[in-house]
Symmetry: D2
Subunit: 338 residues, 4 copies
């Protein structure tokens, strides 16, 4: 940790800051620069962040040196984390391909989608059952009924299942029915929910918040891991920017960056990232080429009639075509599709 | 609702879209432009948004005309909503000044702050008891113990009290102890929690999410009101932008804009907006000059020793000085401080 | 163009707006919705935008229907524009790979890079000669001397050459020496410079501005084309967002989106997009997989000693390795590297 | 400057970096932290930034300590810079109020506006003559003819005059006619133009770029000052964010922040910041309350007929009313309107 003193800081201010740092348990190093004094403080980052050193007279700013995350960090664990779900795994050689509708609408809609994406090579079926919707007047999901359908579709097809939970209550139910629990972008900093999924054993897919920095995202994963659940899958789904042609901006750089910073697997959701089905195939290819460990793709048997997110859903035919492209591309990347 | 057809849309596509719109209960108007066809669809916005008209062949895009919010809208209620809490009110002539520490740390710290801000003219005391922190390793608040201290401080000083809740469990406890329930920026789209505070009777202060548009923020208020609680206070606290000199960017335009769009009161939190106490006074003045109905200001008796947010906290002396400025300024604005 | 009237607009206001629209040459259609009146106006977008219809009493907002760009639009020209430079072409089957140092520093540095990138399969050599630098105290480029070196390197290797111009004066010189003229991100809305490169015949590579929307970027290309130069190559190089781990955020979605909206070729600059050489290879692959027509990559024989942008430059070895990957990937995409 | 070494950096890498730093003229300090080594490097920031230390093996990142700007910095000059133009001054007690139309359209339009804003208390008249427009098909200004009208209006009313220049050619003409030269947001990093206005003697109003950080903005001012022109006025005009209800987001915090960092005067342009005239008055008040040294406000005698920016222009009546409010408010702030 570096404490940068103000240009006009006097001797007494410098002594006071040094003394306070030492009282907090830091060892200090004084560096006299050409124009200003800088104090190197060696010790535990947590201490200094929760202190008010920054507001002491004569202090200009504090520059943290150590990254705030630990358990998620590749510095702590150098080999990739591989997460196994049913027959498939994420984070290793195999790509995880999760596909399915925005929302579970009916048994027919779900099973039709599940069979078709299974045939095309998907490894898991997704389907919203508790939907966090921007408007209180929009369709909010089939809830528990939807979970049962999802579990049944998983059993009949052999696909792993995933659904989003929105609070501890929905988590308690969902954990009984599905194989992977999803934390949506809007709940990425719902710390109570993060702790709760940290206490289960099933894998958790953690979407990046709309305006979350990569550091905040990794800290959210740290919350889950700090409670004991190490099966965390990260999922980039687009961040909020000024561009309005797309619903969000897919931060493709996050994929190789996460691979540098963390040992956790990272997937990409090209459907939510853009909101437009025509962009899903090129962005899926880009994600795999950038090194993503898998994809989360919205597929609906009849997007025109979808109860949500129709515009960003692929038809099963479009999805099957995309899968063909991905099989070749993943080979090139030394990976393989199921 | 306007459906813009593609330049190359053919007769059949146009007929199909028109037919689908009519099946959904819309009346349609065909407008033949110089270059393309546009279909005006009259009916319920909810219908078309949850449909997949946008993915029908020949459709370029859909342009919604009506705003999605209703209960929060000034079109529905033209006079300002005034919310009464204990002796004071927000949204009317009086400015609501909420001050206090980031977190309740001890009875001494809290009472010292409460007495001093009361003396300076504040109308309510704030203090975090359940803290949503970016790191699982940071101080997380005194929880229930803190709530009791807050309630006691309210009783002894006559100040109204406010604290943030982070889930239904903390809400259930807090609602017994404090006068105003705060929903923090990170929970602005925690829709389950919004519904839950929609079912209580006490006023709710709803902070804007870090990357929430004004429309999404108003829709979050709509969630609360749609459950029956009409006592919603909006609070602008800075949005996330590329600028790094300040922690967030205070969107001061949101104040007069909310006044145009909604009848709800709107406050400003200059402390979180910038993260630097030196900017709190000028931004507080700016907020009042722009028409804000009140302020939420962090004050700590000893910012250097604060367990959180020291750098953005005013000392009681700084706060007292600010209040003097605001008394004159509010008069100029036809308002008054307690 | 759609004029949305206010909920409370009265008959007279509606008549006035309709009359004004008709005086401006528009045909009007009145659509009476459930809650409000909407006026469809058919005519020339330019007219209404430069008028003040939006401020007339009773008008809530104006919604443009037509896109503002024409010459760049795929609606006007459906087949891809292919631009030929020396032996290679951009926008067709071949990928254009432009590589080279941030700045031309010396003949040795330039020729060493040029020979190595040529050997690895690049089609053009880049090198800054007039550098737009954030600080007036940074190295500003070799200027005319650099241009001569660049031209000579092009002649000796057979590579096409490209350099950035920063005003009409540097353009006048550069156009004599290099094959492609680059307009940098900071000059994307330097409209005088856009007009000037619109009057030359050589191809222009137009980088996207740091905070330019895709529409503004295409309008900048429209400026160039409106002066008669149809040889415009677009280049996505990252946009400014809140994320600080990378220098900018590569907007990969822009690639397939531009392909939908325009017939112009689009390249990607992964070096400036991230500022970190370790991310250049994965992002280069992602760009090609997303359908980009080429890449602009910084390569320096000794990044540690580079006079600018060392941290984002590949070594010639890293570049050669990347090219091997791209040869296979481009084949998969039905493209080919030189 | 702090060089943070990688967790796994070995002795040899540390020695190499230290040696390289010393060769570049830095004195080095080794700080051995709990987990990693940090090297404090004392010397000239320019050196290290233009070197490639950051890419040396074992280096994780470089943290600059010193701010990059010098001449603009309050550390260099502690008292406020006051700039005098005709009878008025900016940066001192007096507020500078610049008002007028987006574009000079005719003598009648200009003189009508000038007389009315003069009567209301403005100190200068603005009017675009060379207009940088997003579309090549929009009205581009009266150019030299407009300049003459502007000069004449200045003479007849006694108001100071200001217009935007877009390249060196327009600067050469404008400098003969007007009192203050404006650099628009889109040219904030047109470094050649910055240098050119650095060589004149007249005051320069430098608008903040749409996505410029405060540091980049101050560096642009540094460009002008480094050429010898110390009469720089900064003008905040809104930055680009995700919010779409307003055209831009006024960064009101920039006002007190600039006052801390720099001795230069800072104004606010509430018209471009929001794009909506109804927000201009509240934001003007906010700007003055936050400590701005003046305002730049668009006023048009007939906004409905304006050739550009009608929706954000005040009528002369609205402007006169705003001025009345500002007279009282500025008194409260210890300032005065002309």
């Amino acid at each position: 940790m570096i404490v940068v003193m103000d240009l006009r800081a006097d001797e007494k201010q410098i002594t006071n800051v040094t003394k306070s740092l030492e009282e907090l348990g830091f060892k200090t190093h004084l560096i006299k620069g050409v124009e200003r004094i800088v104090i190197g403080a060696i010790g535990d980052r947590k201490q200094i962040l929760s202190s008010g050193i920054e507001v002491m007279p004569g202090v200009e700013k504090i520059v943290p040196i150590m990254k705030p995350f630990k358990l998620v960090s590749r510095e702590v664990k150098t080999d990739n984390t591989i997460i196994r779900v049913k027959d498939f795994s994420i984070g290793g050689e195999e790509l995880g391909i999760i596909a399915g509708p925005c929302a579970v609408e009916s048994w027919e809609q779900l099973m039709e989608t599940a069979s078709l994406v299974k045939a095309a090579g998907a490894t898991a079926i997704r389907g919203g059952t508790y939907k966090p919707r921007t408007s209180p007047y929009s369709f909010q999901g089939l809830e528990d009924e939807g979970l049962k359908l999802l579990a049944k579709a998983g059993n009949e097809t052999g696909l792993a299942t995933i659904t989003e939970v929105i609070d501890e209550k929905s988590l308690d139910v969902a954990v009984e029915y599905v194989d992977i629990i999803q934390i949506g972008a809007r709940n990425m900093q719902n710390f109570q929910l993060l702790r709760a999924v940290g206490r289960i054993e099933k894998p958790v897919l953690l979407k990046r918040g709309l305006s979350a920095t990569i550091e905040e995202w990794l800290m959210a994963a740290e919350y889950i891991m700090s409670e004991g659940n190490y099966n965390v899958i990260l999922c980039e789904r687009g961040i909020r920017t000024f561009e309005t042609y797309t619903r969000n901006t897919l931060d493709i750089s996050a994929v190789p960056l996460i691979k540098q910073l963390s040992h956790l697997p990272v997937m990409v959701d090209p459907s939510h990232a853009t909101g437009e089905w025509k962009l899903v195939a090129p962005l899926s290819r880009a994600a795999v080429a950038a090194g993503a460990d898998g994809l989360l793709v919205e597929v609906h048997p009849d997007p025109v009639k979808a109860l949500c997110d129709g515009p960003q859903s692929l038809t099963p035919d479009n999805f099957a075509e995309l899968m063909k492209e991905l099989i070749q591309l993943s080979e090139l990347m030394g990976r393989k599709v199921n």
